[in-house]
């Protein structure tokens, strides 16, 4: 009953506060959209300058989706790269092939290098095959009565299949489940934390303690009030990410929403808990680099197995570690509810602990 009064009040305040509402509902969408186009946009074709290479190699390079620009004059590769805005220069000097890479974008340089290598080995293989055929023919002419049974060398066809994702998968597909979860976590944390903080700084929290409201009524009032908005936000973000941005979603949409709701719950409770240790909005902001940003690193963006052991232990205390993993499992790997239920339980465990801590933290205001 008192909880409902609080929920109603939080809702009215929230609906009146258009800016905060927009921050919660629209900001995650804007950031996700930006990242989506930044990360998954096709890298523009690498530009490779070629000097003195054979026609067959140039053809093969063109096959590899490279922009091949032949140069006749013998300028130094460095100069050529600067003048023509190239990503690399391939130069034939006698039998020696020299590849100069710009390497201003290492991932692009790696890609270019791999493609050049592939092209060269393809050309070599073809040459060898022709040589071999020629050889067989020569032998056949010289020994007309001997049946020649040279095993025809064929290039082995490699067909690639993927356990998760497909050949079209981009970094964004793997990253986006984590980002969706993180933005829900971040904005719910910020808004609920500042909500209760305002109640503290304006003295109304103190004033509430002169009414028969119980500490747990306050915690649950905030939980449900901001929780309603967190649910709306979660649904908007998840639907936008999967339906509009078309982020890869292999598993069930409902599981995605479930995980995000669990994350929002934890964020909400963490927000109102940490607001107890802040005296101003700015101090609340100071918790972001300490309590929120590190969560991203443990959410699955960086490989967990590669972390030092103590870092792996730290990760176990991060709600985003469980949320991020569960989201990647469902959205990218297509796991079902059974595979993520442990993560969900851990998140609920976090929520439970935070509820108790919140009720205890309010003792600062009234002992009973």
């Amino acid at each position: 009953m008192r909880t409902i009064a609080l929920v109603k009040r939080v809702c009215i305040q929230m609906v009146r506060d258009k800016r905060t509402l927009a921050l919660m509902m629209v900001a995650p969408l804007v950031i996700l959209t930006l990242l989506h186009f930044l990360i998954s946009s096709d890298p523009n074709t690498p530009r490779l300058g070629v000097n003195g290479a054979e026609e067959s190699l140039i053809d093969e390079l063109k096959e590899k989706e490279l922009k091949v620009i032949p140069f006749d004059q013998l300028k130094s590769p460095n100069q050529l790269i600067k003048e023509e805005d190239l990503d690399g220069v391939l130069k034939m000097e006698g039998d020696q092939l020299n590849l100069t890479l710009t390497n201003d974008d290492p991932s692009k340089a790696k890609l270019l290098q791999t493609k050049v290598m592939q092209a060269i080995s393809t050309v070599n293989a073809k040459e060898q095959a022709t040589n071999l055929a020629q050889f067989a023919e020569d032998i056949g002419q010289q020994l007309p009565n001997t049946p020649i049974n040279l095993i025809q060398l064929t290039m082995p066809e490699i067909s690639t299949s993927y356990v998760y994702g497909n050949s079209e998968t981009t970094f964004f597909d793997q990253l986006s489940p984590i980002l969706v979860g993180f933005f829900v976590f971040f904005f719910v944390f910020l808004i609920s934390g500042i909500g209760l903080l305002r109640e503290r700084t304006t003295g109304t929290l103190d004033r509430l303690m002169a009414t028969p409201i119980q500490r747990k009524d306050i915690v649950f009032g905030y939980l449900i009030g901001y929780g309603l908005f967190a649910i709306i936000q979660t649904i908007i973000v998840v639907f936008y990410a999967t339906k509009v941005l078309d982020i890869m979603l292999v598993g069930s949409l409902w599981n995605v929403i479930l995980i995000n709701l669990a994350l929002a719950l934890v964020a909400l409770l963490l927000g109102i808990l940490l607001s107890a240790f802040a005296n101003s909005e700015f101090q609340m902001m100071q918790f972001i680099p300490i309590a929120i940003v590190p969560q991203v690193f443990f959410a699955g963006i960086l490989p967990f197995e590669g972390m030092p052991e103590w870092m792996q232990i730290v990760a176990k205390f991060m709600p985003m570690y469980y949320g991020g993993n569960a989201l990647v499992d469902v959205m990218y790997k297509g796991f079902g509810i059974n595979d993520i239920k442990n993560e969900l339980f851990v998140l609920l465990g976090f929520a439970l602990v935070f509820i108790v801590l919140n009720i205890v933290a309010l003792k600062k205001y009234r002992k009973i």
């Binding site: 009953m1 008192r2 409902i4 009064a5 109603k8 009040r9 009215i12 305040q13 009146r16 506060d17 304006t202 003295g203 109304t204 103190d206 004033r207 509430l208 303690m209 002169a210 009414t211 028969p212 409201i213 119980q214 205001y365 009234r366 002992k367 009973i368």
Partner: protein, 246 residues
């Protein structure tokens, strides 16, 4: 007469700072009890101990024969804080309704009480305005209305008339006297002497101690002076002398 509020040897310190020192107060039912003292003397601290928003470092606080703090007790106490604690982004009506529902008033009673309390503090025509557009005096009045919203047995008002114009102050005092006639107990802090005159009992606070208490008439006759202001100065002076002797 039964005592409604009783403080027994109450002391309060914040860290090393001693704010209240061995306070003994007894407020009888149906009285207007005034706590008078300069700012910083510890009135607000004392009042918060009575409401149960803070706990004494030593000593006992009892309200209606119940140990404070107690949640049920808060249902019978109407509290007006010295600093207005209102929701600025809500309207006056919404503020009143929110606090009313914390006291679990029935919907129809709630409407009635909101109308009554708003009318009393002359805010009826401003109820649909957001509190952030209220003047300082209007906020004080809304705080008073909130204190009255659940028709409490005990009213604790911390400097209720600060920033309120003389006419409205008069009508508020008339209401306080009327509430008293209904048998309510009212504890009021003030630093205005002419308000002290209207109290049945007075306790003069200075430096966290009660330097003198009794009815205004008794205090005046004790010191043989006509103005409470001088009583206050005299009592304070005596206390200083006592301190010097001891």
């Amino acid at each position: 007469m039964t005592s409604t509020i009783e403080l027994i040897q109450v002391s309060k310190s914040f860290g090393k700072k001693n704010v209240l020192n061995n306070i003994n107060i007894k407020v009888d039912a149906g009285q207007i009890f005034g706590l008078i003292g300069p700012s910083g003397s510890g009135k607000t601290t004392l009042v918060k101990l009575i409401v149960g928003m803070d706990q004494p470092s030593s000593g006992q606080v009892q309200v209606l024969n119940t140990q404070v703090p107690n949640l049920k007790l808060l249902q019978s106490i109407g509290y007006m804080a010295q600093a207005d604690a209102l929701y600025n982004d809500l309207t006056g009506q919404e503020n009143l309704a929110f606090f009313a529902s914390l006291y679990k008033l029935r919907k129809d009673v709630q409407q009635e009480r909101i109308a009554y309390a708003a009318n009393l503090v002359a805010l009826t025509s401003h109820l649909s305005k957001k509190v952030q557009n209220y003047s300082g005096g209007m906020k004080r009045r809304l705080s008073l209305a909130i204190a009255l919203i659940h028709d409490p047995q005990i009213l604790i008002l911390d400097e209720p008339t600060v920033g309120i114009d003389p006419e409205l102050r008069k009508s508020i005092w008339a209401e306080i006297v009327r509430l008293k006639s209904e048998g309510k107990t009212i504890l009021i802090t003030t630093h205005v002497m002419d308000e002290a005159e209207k109290c049945d009992q007075l306790a003069m606070v200075r430096g966290g101690e009660i330097i003198s208490n009794g009815s205004p008439a008794a205090l005046k006759s004790h010191y043989n002076i006509n103005s409470l202001e001088e009583v206050f100065l005299r009592a304070g002076g005596e206390k200083d002398e006592n301190n010097r002797i001891s």
